[in-house]
Symmetry: C2
Subunit: 425 residues, 2 copies
């Protein structure tokens, strides 16, 4: 935490009075190192400024939404232009049709789209569509996989009751046998299988999808008539210009999108194949702001940049350069760091670090040097990053590895992450 006179500290004290716990949700810094700021002032390109004026190269990208740079001039201009014309009206604008066409043109498995606001809206709608389509109840999803924060899927059980989680069966990601066992348990009641495009659970190593696992999920759905759902809310557009599993040749029936499809403007989507169209038309879902036009204008501009620029090749090359540079510097410092997940969405963990005290030390040393990383959640690259930014990150990492290797033996335990070593997960 910042010094007593910092603006961040003052805001935290005020927040404590009017926001339960001072902050909630995925952007609460309660489980981050104490020196991480809670409140920010500004974002531009790949950089954020905290309320005490410190600038950081931001490897969290707003937890995903920032794909083409904060305050992207082209995308924000499209938003503002539409805002002046009409945004939340008594009906949708033509942009809703244009955006559905653009999304369908991009996502090869899909022939339709429905727009909403939260990623959780899209995953919850996917579940409802699957149940409407199959007239069955059971859902298979991977243990520990995040699919949103509604009662049926939120990772923390407070306030959630047993019936909220009824008819859910769990497998282990990439474990074909556990997937088959769950399908056998569902019997003739299987409505759908949820799949993260890669294993991006918090606190543990990420994993790319095994082809055998993905194919087995598709095969079970084909055999039983259940729907396969790829939850691309977090990873969408950072792995492919299509559903992320298009890269491994496995097509879902439904896919969920959000985060960066309008570069941080609020819109998410459920997309589906022809087979699920009728069920999708039968459900009643809606929201006060789901048809607002300005985020759709921003999404159209974002998708134009997706189609017309080499952003994906660039962030992949930058990610590879970061990966290689970090591996080299960690090794030179005699530190065993694991980098897992796709290079555009990496997670770093150190060996023999059950309560993440090494990870916290490394992250804090980077933060001090103006580089914002996350010690236990996958990070994100954005197209506003340049080679010079990766150089800055690598130079800072070299210094941070030095701090860590000099201090490793005497690091204090991270009390707030003691639950990790206690095996609570």
């Amino acid at each position: 935490m910042q010094g007593a006179n910092s603006r961040d500290r003052q805001l935290r004290e005020r927040a404590e009075a009017v926001i339960p716990g001072g902050m909630y949700g995925h952007q609460a810094v309660g489980l981050l190192p104490d020196d991480y700021p809670q409140f920010f002032e500004k974002g531009e390109g790949a950089y954020i400024w905290d309320v005490d004026g410190r600038r950081y190269l931001d490897f969290m990208c707003a937890y995903g939404p920032n794909l083409f740079g904060y305050a992207n001039p082209q995308i924000d201009a499209a938003y503002v232009r539409q805002l002046g014309l009409g945004d939340t009206l008594t009906g949708p604008t033509a942009l809703m049709v244009e955006l559905a066409e653009a999304m369908v043109g991009m996502v090869s498995h899909a022939s339709w789209a429905m727009f909403c606001k939260n990623g959780t809206d899209a995953t919850s709608m996917a579940l409802t569509v699957a149940r409407a389509h199959t007239r069955r109840k059971s859902v298979i999803r991977a243990k520990g996989a995040y699919h949103g924060a509604a009662a049926w899927c939120t990772p923390r059980p407070a306030g959630v009751i047993e019936s909220d989680r009824a008819h859910q069966l769990f497998c282990d990601y990439n474990d074909v046998a556990s997937l088959e066992a769950a399908a056998a348990q569902a019997g003739d009641d299987l409505a759908c299988i949820f799949a993260a495009p890669f294993k991006h659970d918090a606190f543990i190593d990420q994993a790319e999808p095994d082809l055998a696992y993905a194919r087995k999920a598709r095969e079970i759905c084909d055999r039983t008539g259940a729907l396969l759902i790829v939850d691309d809310v977090r990873a969408g557009l950072r792995l492919a210009r299509d559903c992320s599993w298009s890269k491994i040749g496995v097509q879902p029936d439904l896919s969920t999108w959000g985060k960066c499809i309008a570069n941080g403007h609020p819109i998410s989507a459920l997309m589906g194949s022809e087979v699920a169209r009728k069920a999708a038309a039968s459900i009643y879902v809606t929201g006060s702001f789901w048809y607002q036009a300005a985020p759709m204008a921003a999404a159209l501009e974002t998708l134009r940049l997706v189609r017309e620029t080499d952003y994906l090749e660039r962030i992949t090359a930058l990610g590879q350069r970061l990966r290689d540079g970090l591996a080299e510097r960690a090794q030179a410092a005699g530190l065993a760091m694991r980098q897992t997940g796709p290079v555009t969405m990496r997670l770093f963990l150190f060996d023999d670090d059950p309560d993440l005290r090494k990870g916290f030390c490394f992250a804090s040393a980077l933060l001090e040097r103006g580089v914002y990383t996350h010690p236990w959640h996958n990070m994100f690259l954005c197209a506003a990053m340049a080679e010079a930014d990766i150089d800055l990150a690598l130079d800072s990492a070299e210094a941070a590895f030095g701090v860590l290797s000099r201090g490793a033996a005497s690091l204090a335990p991270v009390e707030k992450l003691a639950f990790l070593s206690a095996g609570a997960r």
Copy 2:
């Protein structure tokens, strides 16, 4: 429906291909008269333009969000200014604290606020907080009352399974005996009572809350330790500059807000009293865009207008003038029209009109004259309306009553609303 060459018709055909059913949710016009446009182009003040360039005085106000006029210059300027600084970032800005303070300053029962995107987010969070607080499961809500479109509350059952609706008990709005019976049925398992601030169900007469009913709800909660939730998503700020039940002196433990708190910019809120703070801090809820700063800037400006202008007195006076003028003209035309609900959020229904053929005829005649009303959903007044607009509405209504009384005997049945007379509701 518009002519074959209209832009609306062309968009509907394109939408049919890429959006299930062509459109979904509360802004789908499938259950409105055939001449209602589906797609809009523009909004300014109290007016909307459809994609064929026709202009309407809009009594739907985007189904609530438009309180201070479409494209309100002050509110939108606040949005755009903040957008240039920082919107969806890696953490919240100071505006989140300022907005929570402003909301808490306005809502007398509340000492904290949590922000989200959909009204449904706020009502679903209220349910989770109540269950976390009480460690009980049962919910009482009024039959037919709308509290959102998640599986636990959506009005259409497709894709919803029994466990989604478990532990829900129903009473009749304003019926004390049915409320007591539901509470008795809940026994020692009552977590909360949901209350709409007034009865604003679709298709039927609206009703102001009976004081005895509201007090009974409060009393049951006091006696059992359950939480009383006033769902002010739809009515908030159109009845009071506080929770709507403050007018009748009944304070809830939780209240839900959305729609117009940022004049159409996407933000909603759950607010609560001290008693529920700890439970609120214990639940895990979040969304990709919940902490975006630009809607918070717009909400702060909206709340400033709420505090500093006589908007509420003005829309109330305009609503009264509309009500009186309509009553007079309906009577002169020999038509029995019921106007129910608060004057700022009226619903019009005609006597002896089970499939709403009279209502459709009246609404269509108004639409043709440039006045957009709704034949079965409560309408909304906004502060951008002036006396001249009400005059326009009354002149148009006079003509529309004429059309109706001349044609009443020969109106065709409204097939798509046949379910109403079949008693499906």
